[in-house]
């Protein structure tokens, strides 16, 4: 049972000062095995904070990240799943499912995690799953100010992944759960 945190688009300190306190209290070290970060942290301090939560941190570069050494894409394998990370500002139109599916095929992954739109989304299509954890701080995005802080926790267990979505709506943390099963075929696509 592997817990993977998917988080991104914090835009600290430019657009938001910090994560909501309720989110921070939930994110304690020791429970999470991997962190996948879509990008736009933007400063090193946030990187360090994530490092304290979990040593295994994967980040891709967002357009406002101050550290230019992050890669554009990244892929990793956790359990039976192949995960891909991409910030998403490179994929035009932003947030378009078909284009993202194209990226997913290119990276050859089962689960693609992207961001940039600051909206939580979880799509399942025949090729796999696309997850957008939204913005963890609720920072305004390029096209809207109405953003709820959100992030995603994936529980990978064998051929099944349970996606827990944590959203901060009206001062309360709301949790939702989505189940995805990988078809036990050699290729995910």
């Amino acid at each position: 049972m592997v817990l993977v945190l998917a988080i991104g688009d914090l835009h600290i300190p430019h657009r938001a000062p910090d994560l909501p306190p309720k989110f921070k209290s939930m994110l304690v070290p020791g429970k999470i095995q991997h962190i996948i970060c879509t990008g736009n942290l933007c400063i090193k301090e946030v990187h360090d904070y994530f490092k304290t939560l979990c040593p295994d941190l994967h980040i891709t570069r967002g357009e406002y990240d101050e550290d230019s050494r992050y890669p554009e894409n990244k892929t990793l394998t956790i359990g039976q799943f192949k995960l891909g990370i991409c910030h998403g500002h490179q994929v035009i139109p932003w947030g378009d499912l078909d284009s993202l599916a194209m990226v997913q095929r290119q990276l050859d992954v089962d689960i693609l995690v992207t961001g940039h739109t600051h909206q939580f989304k979880a799509y399942k299509h025949e090729g796999g799953v696309v997850i957008n954890p939204g913005s963890a701080t609720g920072a305004y995005s390029s096209f809207t100010y109405d953003v709820n802080p959100s992030f995603v926790l994936m529980d990978i267990d064998g051929l099944r992944v349970v996606v827990y979505v944590y959203e901060f709506i009206d001062g309360e943390v709301k949790v939702d759960k989505i189940d995805f099963k990988k078809t036990a075929t050699a290729s995910a696509h």
Partner: protein, 805 residues
């Protein structure tokens, strides 16, 4: 259990041909142990075995399902109603299944860590993932099961043809996974053969096998009751079986020896002495040792080596750490083969065994085993001069020992132990138990029982607490009864008692400080003493009575009397008379405390003296009293056999002016002679001694110096010396003359200070078995931790040194 029986009967049920083997199921330890531990019934038929096995396994599987939380499993079909906010993985809510899961994971991690450090030399087996969840006790159990399975595989390899599937005419490959299947067919044929008593070739060949192997084969059938679940010897169910064995071992299956008790830190409910069972068991060891080899025993006691220092480890892991794995298996074979049911002996006066450990054959064998181990090291132990080196020797049990001899000796001692348990009185440890709050006041019964003079009081704790209350109310009552009861006790005893008293009294100390409760204390003590004597009704009685008389007759400060009385009676009732002792009754005490006291007094007195200097008068005397008590108590560390009542109510600072009358002095000398009295007396003596010492310390700081008459019995351990010192403090005064008020006060203060220290040390001590069982250790009070304890001990040492001067 009845592996033999099973063995016999299994074949006999089928053919009655194979005779029973003397060693049941020779190589199948797993099954043998399971029978011994009560999991498998000693029944004859394989079917029964199988059924029971299957039952146990099912139970385990159920338990496992219940306890191993899997957050993915929906709760009873009500998935949708799960409150996700509460039950998500990151939830902080401690009730959520996820937090439970994480908690379990933490625990598992810790256990894994322990496991990885376990048996590093047997790495290959123990490091495998299958060993998860083991424990030092469980490890050998699982190992044994594993060995059994390996043996099974060996057997199968050797006798391949027996496992051939008769029907198909070709043999299946033997391998662990498929063997069940093989067996089904084979068992089918074999069963038929067996039942029908046919003369098929297979049957004959089965019976031609070593009976052991037969058993192996029969036990591994997949056929028979319960099918696969009932395979008695099965690789798949190793975990279940190991758990069952472990459970049986820990709970003891209604026997008198339950390992789980040994891990409990609080006194068992039915324990008379109110001390933790492991302490009680350790005291049982020493008790047995004292019967078998009193010189070694007294040597150990003198050095202050409390049995629980080493016995704790021995008992808790059933000698797992002392022997190599193979040796350990042999030892456990023996231990498990003994019956664990409680022997029923309830003494007429309504008291049960003094030692629960000795209450069953298995328990006595364990105790006997421990004693024989101690005896094995006899010469090296006798040669050591310090407690530390003694402990070193005991804790590093040598390798390459002649195990058979050891076991034989243990068996011989076992019968002795059985007998002894019947006659031993619980009083030995009842009295010693200190009522101070620290839960584990190990009374080092056996070690402390050197001066048994004073009879032990079997009054339970509550009694003493009542007494304390009474005392507390009537504080001023008995100041003058200061009897040197303590003197009667042997030095050690007196010291110990004192310590104990001090300990018990230390708690109420603050409250009492300002008052001189000598009289009150004395009266209580005296009454306690009387009670004690009544109850014990032993040889000591005379002395006790003497003490009582002495105390009664003393017209000096009641404190002293209290001291004595308290010593005799029990700690609880003793008030820190020292503090209270206003008048110079202390002087009386010293007189009474003859030589006995004189010897030990120096250390205590020095301690007391130090204390005096440190605290204000009243306080110090009380403290010293308390510290003395504490020391005493500590020494006793394993109070098992010390009667509870001894523990004085902490608040009773027996400030009895240490005026021991001549009578007490006489008594002291008399007691001295009786040094080698039975443990209980020893305790009492110590008690007295401690009381006396406390009194003396309390009363006369100054006197302590004087009092530290050099009559120390060299034998007495520091405690005794302390008590003696204290008493000697009183002695000199007694002997000399009326004590100075000042002296008494100083002594009191010292006593109080000591008591405080003792208590601190005790509390710390309990956790730290490694500390030498010296007085010093005892003097530390619960609480601050070893550092505090050590400092307290040092102070006590100083005081005692002063006193001894």
């Amino acid at each position: 259990m009845s592996k033999e029986i099973v063995k016999e009967e299994a074949p006999s049920s089928s053919s009655g041909v194979v005779p029973a083997e003397s060693r049941p199921f020779g190589s199948l330890r797993g099954v043998q142990w399971r029978i011994n531990l009560g999991i498998l019934p000693p029944s004859s038929s394989i079917d029964d075995l199988r059924r029971v096995t299957a039952d146990f396994r099912r139970r385990y599987a159920g338990l496992r399902r219940q306890l191993l939380v899997d957050p993915h499993v929906p709760k009873d079909g009500a998935t949708n109603s799960l409150d996700l906010v509460m039950d998500n993985p990151l939830s902080q809510n401690p009730d959520s299944t996820w937090s439970q899961y994480f908690r379990n994971a933490e625990l598992e991690k810790m256990v894994n860590q322990d496991l990885s450090r376990l048996y590093p030399e047997h790495e290959s087996y123990f490091q495998t993932p299958g060993c998860q969840g083991m424990h030092e006790l469980l490890a050998p159990l699982l190992y044994v099961l594993h060995v059994d399975v390996e043996r099974l595989l060996e057997v199968r390899k050797l006798y391949e043809d027996l496992f051939i599937d008769k029907f198909d005419g070709f043999s299946f490959e033997e391998n662990g996974v498929a063997y069940n299947f093989d067996f089904k067919k084979f068992a089918d044929s074999v069963e038929d053969e067996i039942e029908s008593q046919g003369n098929s070739k297979k049957v004959m060949s089965l019976y031609e096998l070593d009976p052991e192997l037969q058993a192996v084969v029969l036990l591994s059938d997949a056929y028979g009751a319960e099918g696969e679940l009932g395979i008695v010897l099965s690789e798949k169910f190793m975990e279940h079986d190991a758990y069952c064995m472990f459970d049986a071992l820990m709970i003891g299956a209604h026997g008198s020896v339950a390992m789980a008790d040994f891990f409990a830190s609080s006194p068992a409910a039915e324990s008379q002495s109110g001390v933790p069972p492991v302490i009680e068991a350790s005291a049982a060891l020493y008790h047995l040792l004292s019967i078998v080899d009193s010189s070694l025993h007294s040597h150990l006691v003198e050095l202050g080596v409390e049995p629980q220092y080493f016995a704790l480890r021995w008992l808790r892991v059933l000698f797992g750490r002392e022997f190599s794995l193979q040796d350990l298996l042999v030892v456990w074979d023996k231990i498990f083969s003994e019956d664990n049911s409680p022997l029923d002996e309830i003494s007429d006066d309504g008291e049960h065994f003094s030692f629960k450990l000795l209450g069953s054959r298995r328990g006595t064998l364990i105790a006997a085993m421990a004693v024989s181990m101690i005896l094995y090291l006899r010469s090296s132990l006798l040669a050591t001069e310090t407690a530390t080196s003694c402990l070193q020797r005991l804790l590093n049990f040598p390798e390459g020992i002649n195990l058979k001899k050891l076991i034989a000796k243990a068996e011989s001692l076992q019968t002795l132990a059985l007998d002894s348990n019947i006659s031993s009185l619980p009083s030995t440890f009842v009295g010693a138990y200190n009522c101070s709050k620290s839960p584990i006041n190990a009374h080092n019964v056996s070690s402390d029982l050197v001066c048994p003079k004073t009879t032990l009081n079997l009054v339970p704790d509550s009694y003493w607490e009542e007494k304390w209350r009474v005392l507390h109310k009537a504080e001023e009552q008995r100041q003058n009864s200061s009897e040197k009861k303590t003197s009667s006790g042997k030095k050690k005893w007196s010291e110990r008692v004192k310590f104990r008293l001090s300990r018990t009294e230390s708690e109420p100390l603050p409250a009492i400080r300002e008052k001189c409760k000598l009289e009150h204390t004395l009266s209580v003590r005296r009454s306690l003493l009387e009670d004690l004597s009544k109850q014990l009704g032993l040889e000591e009685d005379v002395e006790t009575a003497g003490c009582v008389e002495v105390s009664n007759s003393v017209d000096h400060h009641p404190a002293e009397v209290h001291r004595d009385g308290q010593n005799c009676a029990n700690k609880g009732s003793i008030c820190t008379v020292e503090d209270r002792c206003d008048d110079g009754s202390g002087a009386v005490v010293s007189e009474e405390n003859s030589s006995i006291f004189s010897e030990p007094p120096s250390p205590p007195s020095s301690v007391i003296n130090d204390h005096d200097h440190e605290n204000d008068t009243e306080k110090s005397s009380v403290a010293s009293n308390l510290s003395a008590d504490d020391n005493y108590v500590h020494q006793r560390s394993i109070p098992e056999d010390l009667p509870q009542p001894v523990s004085l109510p902490p608040e009773d600072v027996y400030l009895n002016s240490p005026h021991e009358n001549g009578s007490s002095g006489k008594m002291v000398s008399a007691t001295k002679e009786k040094r080698q009295l039975s443990g209980k007396f020893q305790w009492l003596h110590k008690f007295r001694g401690s009381i006396v010492s406390e009194e003396t310390s309390g009363k006369r700081g100054g006197i302590s110096e004087a009092a530290n008459s050099p009559n120390h019995d060299s034998k007495r351990n520091t405690v005794d010396s302390f008590t003696a010192g204290a008493s000697s403090n009183s002695h000199p005064t007694n002997k000399g003359d009326a004590m100075d008020q000042n002296m008494m006060d100083t002594l009191k203060h010292l006593g109080q200070a000591m008591l405080d220290h003792i208590q601190v040390v005790e509390s710390v001590f309990q956790q730290d078995q490694g500390q030498g069982g010296s007085l010093d250790n005892l003097s530390k009070n619960i609480g601050k931790g070893q550092v505090t304890a050590i400092t307290a001990l040092k102070e006590l040492r100083k005081i005692s040194n002063l006193l001894s001067e």
